[in-house]
């Protein structure tokens, strides 16, 4: 009995000592001080060279962490206990974070490079006047298709319903995306909350069931690149990755309209180095930096000055930099509130259950 209690006491003492040492180490290495910057970004979504460049220019040590979904990022920031100085969420997540007071307003006087951003990507519904966020990348939702497996050209969403595509279409596993596609094909807004319109969209989706081979997550990239299906509903960012792997494929944004998405840089409430965060955001909007990053990542840059620095074959690629006319028909997903999101998902579930 005595031996056991002694062991317990020793273990606790050792644990406390280790905690103290770890704490001292963190402080001495600057992990808790002002000379580091913790960045929380999507995986493989920055040119790592730029992080080194930023460290050299500013002397700030960058700690880089990644997430794989907006929801995972939100949960982690909501729970606290983290010191993320800069995060890069998507549009609807930003609107959610704004509502929940999870963001620190940007000091525009510290962000002179904001002038490089194309004005049509500023002051959008999810963040009026860019009070909390600065654009990082943007893109669209569209169809990746395989000309070797289908002769269709996909000018319209309705082409996905074509009987020749029986069991040959892959969909992204997202309620907003799939229902949005159906709404858009019926001429409604992607942010429609009218129940009649939503039911009509569901009824139309149920007619798509025979063509749907699978509703999958990130695997959709691998499956499409491996010629597993003739067409797939994907975001432009995924499309550019797929086409890198398999150049036979092509991407198109249907004429009826589609989703326009943004990933913006924000400073979460958890930030410890707010000044450094501004420096980083401003650095990423520097034309040369943004151009280098866009070339590395392959997504569309909202930075006008950077766009001019990009090679012609990238900046004139209408699949990823659609014309102003197409842009007008694109809509950002608004944050429809939790209740509506639940309703969308309920309808999506009914579509999935449809046999």
């Amino acid at each position: 009995m005595k031996a056991i209690s002694r062991t317990f006491i020793v273990i606790i003492a050792v644990a406390l000592l280790l905690m103290f040492v770890a704490n001292r180490l963190n402080v001495s290495q600057g992990y808790a001080g002002s000379n580091t910057l913790t960045i929380y970004n999507w995986g493989d979504y920055i040119d790592p060279e730029l992080l080194t460049k930023f460290q050299k220019e500013t002397g700030i040590t960058v700690i880089y962490q990644t997430f794989d979904s907006n929801e995972a990022m939100l949960t982690k920031i909501e729970q606290g206990g983290t010191t993320f100085d800069v995060a890069i969420p998507s549009d609807y997540a930003i609107s959610k974070m704004r509502e929940e007071n999870l963001l620190i307003p940007l000091d525009h006087s510290k962000l002179p490079n904001l002038k490089n951003i194309d004005p049509s990507f500023l002051n959008l519904s999810f963040d009026p006047d860019n009070k909390y966020s600065a654009p990082y990348f943007w893109g669209t939702l569209g169809i990746v298709y395989n000309p070797k497996l289908t002769n269709l050209k996909f000018h319209s969403w309705d082409d996905l319903w074509n009987p020749s595509l029986r069991n040959n279409v892959l969909l992204t596993d997202g309620a907003r995306e799939v229902l949005g596609m159906s709404l858009s094909s019926l001429g409604y807004s992607l942010n429609d909350t009218n129940d009649q319109h939503l039911q009509a969209a569901l009824a139309k989706l149920k007619k798509l069931t025979p063509n749907v081979k699978a509703i999958v997550g990130d695997e959709i990239k691998m499956l499409l690149a491996n010629n597993e299906a003739a067409a797939g509903l994907v975001f432009s960012g995924d499309a550019s990755e797929i086409m890198d792997q398999n150049p036979d494929l092509d991407y198109v944004v249907p004429d009826q309209g589609s989703n326009l998405w943004f990933d913006n840089m924000v400073i979460p409430k958890t930030a410890a180095n707010i000044d450094g965060a501004h420096k980083f955001i401003n650095f990423m909007m520097n034309p040369e930096v943004a151009a280098q990053n866009a070339e590395y990542v392959g997504y569309a840059t909202p930075n006008d000055a950077a766009l001019k620095l990009l090679p012609e074959d990238i900046s004139s690629d209408e699949r990823f930099y659609p014309s102003k006319q197409v842009l007008k028909r694109l809509e950002v997903f608004d944050n429809l509130g939790k209740k509506m999101l639940v309703h969308y998902n309920e309808l999506f579930l009914q579509f999935k259950m449809n046999k």
């Binding site: 009995m1 056991i4 979904s69 929801e71 995972a72 069991n167 892959l170 596993d173 309620a175 081979k213 699978a214 509703i215 999958v216 997550g217 695997e219 691998m222 499956l223 491996n226 010629n227 597993e228 939790k338 209740k339 999101l341 639940v342 998902n345 309920e346 579930l349 009914q350 999935k352 259950m353």
Partner: protein
């Protein structure tokens, strides 16, 4: 003093039970009475008893049953053969080995194996059967689930067969029973405890499978597990997710009770 000491030995176990068994179940039950806005409601349960969720429940049970049945059909003969084979330890190791590999990795491997241009289809083409769609249907779902769960079925049955006194079989034979009668009247009843615990070890987890429904069945098979995952991660409707979980917990408890899995039957094998 003696009794005290023993109580202290049990302490870590009690703390564990309270923290990681009782508390989560209580929390899940608690959350199931709230809607997305954090208001108290019974609506979640009403929603559960609508056709969408009932159909989902039905299909979950059906697929879990199929997975259990096929696992049993494969595992029983395998376990029986194991008891009569020479290099027993080696074979058992080979059966357990796949469980050391991460579930997700194994599942991903099947996307490649079953793919349109995967090895199985290449083989089918060579022997003249032609390309088949193997992925994204009920077949692939049941196949991969059975592959994953079979070791959990083999081991308890093997143990039960091992514990059985072999002279009982000789006795049955001496008394004129045929091979089938011996199996039906002697061997199977004596190993029923192993079969039961194997079935529980397979049926209950397969009720709430979720990653495989997306990766292998492409959401063509929807189980309650899929719904729970979606409610917690996508819609953040923890109330509805918890409600589905509560129903699952109750269903599993009932199943255990009905099959006498709470330990009374364990004696049977001895």
């Amino acid at each position: 003093m003696q009794a005290n000491t023993r109580a202290i030995y049990m302490l870590p176990y009690y703390v564990w039970i309270v923290l990681f068994v009782v508390a989560p179940v209580v929390l899940v039950g608690y959350y199931s009475f709230f809607d997305v806005d954090g208001q108290f409601t019974l609506q979640n349960y009403r929603t559960f008893f609508t056709p969408v969720y009932l159909q989902m429940t039905l299909s979950s049970f059906w697929y879990a049953f199929l997975v259990m049945l096929f696992s049993l059909l494969i595992a029983y003969p395998a376990a029986y053969w194991l008891t009569r084979t020479k290099h027993r330890q080696l074979w058992i190791l080979l059966i357990i080995l796949p469980t050391w590999i991460n579930l997700l990795l194994k599942t991903y491997a099947f996307i490649g194996i079953f793919g349109t241009y995967g090895p199985i289809n290449a083989f089918l083409e060579t022997i003249g059967v032609g390309q088949q769609q193997l992925l994204f249907n009920s077949f692939s779902f049941v196949f991969v689930s059975v592959y994953i769960f079979v070791p959990f079925m083999i081991l308890p049955i093997y143990n039960a067969l091992e514990e059985m006194n072999p002279s009982l079989i000789s006795a049955a034979r001496d008394l004129g029973a045929s091979g089938w009668t011996t199996f039906q009247r002697v061997i199977f009843p004596l190993t029923i405890s192993g079969v039961k615990s194997g079935c529980m070890a397979v049926f209950i987890p397969s009720l709430s499978l979720f990653m495989i429904t997306r990766l292998i069945a492409g959401n063509k098979v929807i189980t309650l597990g899929t719904a729970i995952e979606q409610h917690f991660l996508v819609t953040q409707d923890w109330g509805m997710g918890s409600t589905v979980a509560v129903v699952l917990i109750i269903a599993m408890a009932l199943l255990m009770l009905l099959s006498g899995g709470f330990g009374q039957e364990v004696r049977h094998g001895k």
